[in-house]
């Protein structure tokens, strides 16, 4: 059990994982104490550090070809807690660092403390919560213990919810409350499942659990039940159809940089844990019934989300429903990537690629919508004629993001769809490929609804002067989604590091 021993001892470079977690925690604490405009400064000072750490982790994982491990306090699991980074964690960390930095840069000005004022509510809350959210994401991506991950999920929720209602409008308060209560509902189910797992195996460490579930010939009832509860709880936080009640109002009403982070990263965090659960903790229990059920919900999400996006009157609601649809794609990876089939690796890469490219594309689209809202004073789709000329980069960013959502080349969305469709064809599971195609067509429809009138020549009355800097941020993120389409083979090798079946050869 070489892999097992490896997973229970700190590896070289493991300290990077600790730093990746505590840097944003320190930033958040310091920001609260020092307060005022320093909160923003601290956040900005730490963002490059966070990005550097994330990149260092990715490089270290890639160079060693092994997951990084850090045993906290020198107490190895099952008693203690380990942090671990595989290829998926590493790319998610980098993505999170990039999107948060972009959202932060976009938020400059919007959440600035004006001169002469010691401290303002919204800026202080925004910058501290943003860093708290970042810390939570880091723990989610690195955590090796299911209870520790529960704490991280709560951390994430508590950072995300107040961001939704930062401007205090009644509809944002209602959206935030709905979000909070449903997320808590999900957390409790997750915790209940974790309790049952602990009761059965006496540990919540992911690697140890994987080892123990694999050793059992029969599924204990408690374990099956735990799997259902934990997955359902995480699905609630991921807003997979039909559990998306909270997402459209929350994501559509939050301030644009918050919407970007929520749609790009926060829903991916709970998705990430569902992947951990089924691929790492209990790959043996992921029967066809389970994976088909997850993918069927995903397919329903694609169809419902896309059609509903087509029917929205407001731009930000359209984008939010598009998130509901795009989350659906993520779940198509379950029946395709589980197991050691010839197509599993490409389905895995496809699922991860979809996670990453949607993060960039959707963040870009929400920021672009933010620019539109700021300058028009509304985001009614019927009244967007001609805005392309007033804010060309924002519309270009929206269009490029849309390109990725539609799955047109060159973009990460195309690469993801290509890999997932390839796997669905090779595995004989045609239905998923057809759903992906229909989803792409519908995405084309809702992107067209916005971009076509925006490119018209019509005069628009702007309420605020254009901010080229914010447009450029949106565009940079959209280009990120496009650039993912040019990812070299080495990138896909990185994604495979730590994939349980891929690593089975090492045991």
């Amino acid at each position: 059990m070489l892999a097992m021993a490896l997973a229970l001892a700190t590896t070289g470079g493991g300290y990077l994982l600790v730093l990746a977690v505590i840097v944003p925690v320190i930033g958040m604490l310091l920001s609260l104490v020092v307060g005022g405009r320093h909160a923003e400064r601290i956040a900005f000072a730490l963002m490059p550090a966070g990005l550097g750490l994330a990149l260092a982790i990715a490089i270290e994982v890639w160079v060693t070809g092994q997951p990084l491990v850090y045993i906290l306090g020198g107490w190895p699991p099952p008693l203690g807690i380990a942090l671990r980074a595989d290829g998926f964690s590493a790319v998610m960390l980098v993505t999170a660092a990039l999107v948060i930095a972009a959202a932060g840069y976009f938020a400059r000005g919007g959440f600035a403390t004006p001169p002469g004022v010691a401290e303002k509510r919204a800026p202080l809350a925004f910058w501290t919560l943003l860093q708290g959210l970042w810390a939570a994401l880091a723990v989610v991506f690195l955590g090796g213990d299911l209870f520790n991950l529960y704490v991280a999920l709560e951390l994430l929720t508590f950072a995300a919810v107040p961001l939704v209602c930062l401007d205090g409008r009644p509809e944002t308060l209602a959206a935030a409350l709905r979000y909070l209560l449903f997320a808590l509902f999900g957390s409790v189910l997750y915790l209940l499942g974790a309790a049952l797992l602990y009761g059965t195996y006496g540990t919540l460490d992911i690697v140890l659990l994987a080892d123990r579930t694999a050793a059992e010939p029969l599924v204990a009832p408690a374990v099956g039940f735990a799997a259902g509860l934990m997955t359902a709880g995480l699905l609630a936080k991921t807003a997979l159809f039909p559990l998306h009640l909270w997402l459209p109002p929350a994501h559509a009403n939050a301030p644009p940089p918050a919407s970007a982070v929520l749609s790009a990263l926060v829903v991916k965090a709970s998705f990430f844990l569902i992947v951990r659960l089924w691929f790492d903790v209990m790959p043996g229990l992921a029967s066809a019934a389970v994976t088909t059920l997850l993918a069927a919900l995903g397919a329903a999400a694609i169809l419902f989300g896309s059609v509903l996006a087509l029917r929205q009157a407001r731009l930000k609601l359209l984008i939010a429903y598009s998130t509901v649809a795009q989350i659906g794609y993520l779940f198509l990876m379950f029946p395709l990537a589980i197991g050691g089939h010839p197509w599993s690796a490409e389905a895995w890469s496809g699922g991860v690629m979809q996670t990453l490219s949607h993060a960039f594309a959707k963040a870009a689209m929400f920021l672009a919508a933010g620019v539109v809202y700021e300058q028009l004073g509304h985001d009614r789709i019927a009244e967007l004629r001609g805005i392309g000329r007033a804010m060309p980069m924002a519309i270009f960013a929206f269009g490029l993001g849309g390109l990725s959502l539609m799955g047109l080349p060159p973009s990460g969305g195309f690469a993801a769809k290509w890999l997932l469709m390839q796997a669905s064809v090779e595995s004989g599971q045609w239905a998923w490929a057809v759903v992906m195609l229909v989803g792409g067509l519908l995405a084309g429809g809702y992107v067209y609804r916005v971009v076509a009138p925006a490119l018209d020549r019509a005069t628009v009355a702007l309420k605020a002067p254009a901010s080229r800097r914010r447009e450029a941020v949106a565009l940079a993120l959209a280009l990120g989604a496009v650039l993912l389409g040019f990812a070299p083979p080495e990138f896909f090798d990185l994604l495979q590091i730590g994939r349980p079946v891929a690593m089975a050869a090492l045991r």
Binding site: R178, G228, A232, L243, V290, L294, P409, W418, V434, R457
Partner: protein, 546 residues
Amino acid sequence: MSGTGTLGTALLVATLAVPLALLLACLSRRLRNNMPALLVLAPLPGLAAALLALGGMPLAFDQPQLGISLALDVPGALLLGVAALLWSVTGAYAFTDLRGKTNAARFSVCWLLTLTGSLGVFIVADLLGFYLFFALASLPAYGLIVHDDDDPAARRAGGVYMAFTVLSEAFLLLGFVLLAAGESHGSLQIRDVVAALPQSPWRDAALVFTVAGFALKIGTVPAHGWMPLTYAAAPIPAASVLSGAGVKAGVIGLIRFLPFDTAMPGAGEMLVVLGFFSAFYGVAIGITQANPKTVLAYSSVSQMGVIAAVLGMGLAAGDHSVALDTAFYAATHVLAKGALFLAVGVTAVTAARRLRPTLLLAAVLALGLGGLPLTGGALAKLAVKAPLGDGVVGLLANLSAVATTLLMLHFLQCLARTAAHEQQAPAGLAVPWQAMALASVAVPWLLYPFAGGNVADALALAALFDALWPVLIGAALALALRRWQNRLPPIPAGDIVEPAERAFSASYAVGSAMERADGWLRQWPAAGLSLLAIAVVLGAATLFGS
């Protein structure tokens, strides 16, 4: 690598790099506003590359690290050369046409994007690259079609065009995925996946979806509805390049992706039937139209049908030579159709009494499509004569020439009616038109030998007669049509589009039903129940599923 080899590679890369560089230049407002003047230059490296390739130099550029693989063979070079010529000459036309118009900069950007894709499909050698350039040749053309934002017809045409295009992209994506899945070594080179296709477990499905994707692009009935709307609504230069060069992305697609090395009678015959149906259907609807641009569009439906039929014959027989034959046929169509659209534009700004030279030249080109002896069209018909054979199919081909002549004479009549009152076409429009017209007369003769033809055979008396009689019968029919013209039923341009749009509107009901369902599901008790139900079902699935 030899010196000329390096030159070839450089030209191949420049074919894409030059228009892309001009696109980058569009980031600057000043350059963007002056871009119409440069459009004429953008396709020139492509033209040079085509000439070099026809000169016997196999061109290739392979950079697997960058995911780029380019190659140029003779069929590709034929099409690349004439397409580049058309883009360049029409670019000159567009420069004059755009002067003083409001959306010139946006038009230029869309022009360059479409151009890149349109030339790219002829030289790209890998599957993903082909998909990329195909999309590039199709999607940005929206901005060429909807040039005038306030024109509701253009907006409708743009919408219909996008619907068909996106559908075509979706079919192709699935088709390409199936093609790639059938190649067991993981190669994404077009020649590898096509070679593996006959043995692929997904052969039929791959073929169906790939062909469906291309059929949407070349307007095979019943996927033809977008063509008449689009060409009628688009500005002249856009209609010219889209009908001439743009559509050929679908033709090169069929040439590249049909596995001619293995005879597939069933699939081939289906393509033949579909092709001839389109060929006659296009004429039948075309003669009821009055707008010359619409008539030309229906002629394209018909001509692309003939090409599909020839390719079908080749597929049925396992005859690889049809690739070259249809490439030549398509190349003559690029020139003639492109030029005829320019003729429509020039006529509209030329007084009736000065119209004669224009009409005469247009008549030569138009009848050439029907196979008038000594024209490029006649050579094209000759080139595809062998694969079509002498049987029923050969007869159908001749009848389609008759029908095309009829349609083209109808076109000339419609064209003459659009003349202006007192005007002389500006040189900036007239010269490109004349250049294109001359090219479409002369260039096919120059290219014919490269397509494996013998010019002397084409000048033989029997060949001339073979080409002449369908034209004569067509002319006689046209005379008859003049008498009966007003008895023809009025058919709206795009014929089946309107019912399709109505059916599409009916599907909105599904959307509102889904909206109601969503509203219910998003209520707290319903969502909570769903959550618990999912937990229980997933738990049960875990326990009892394995």
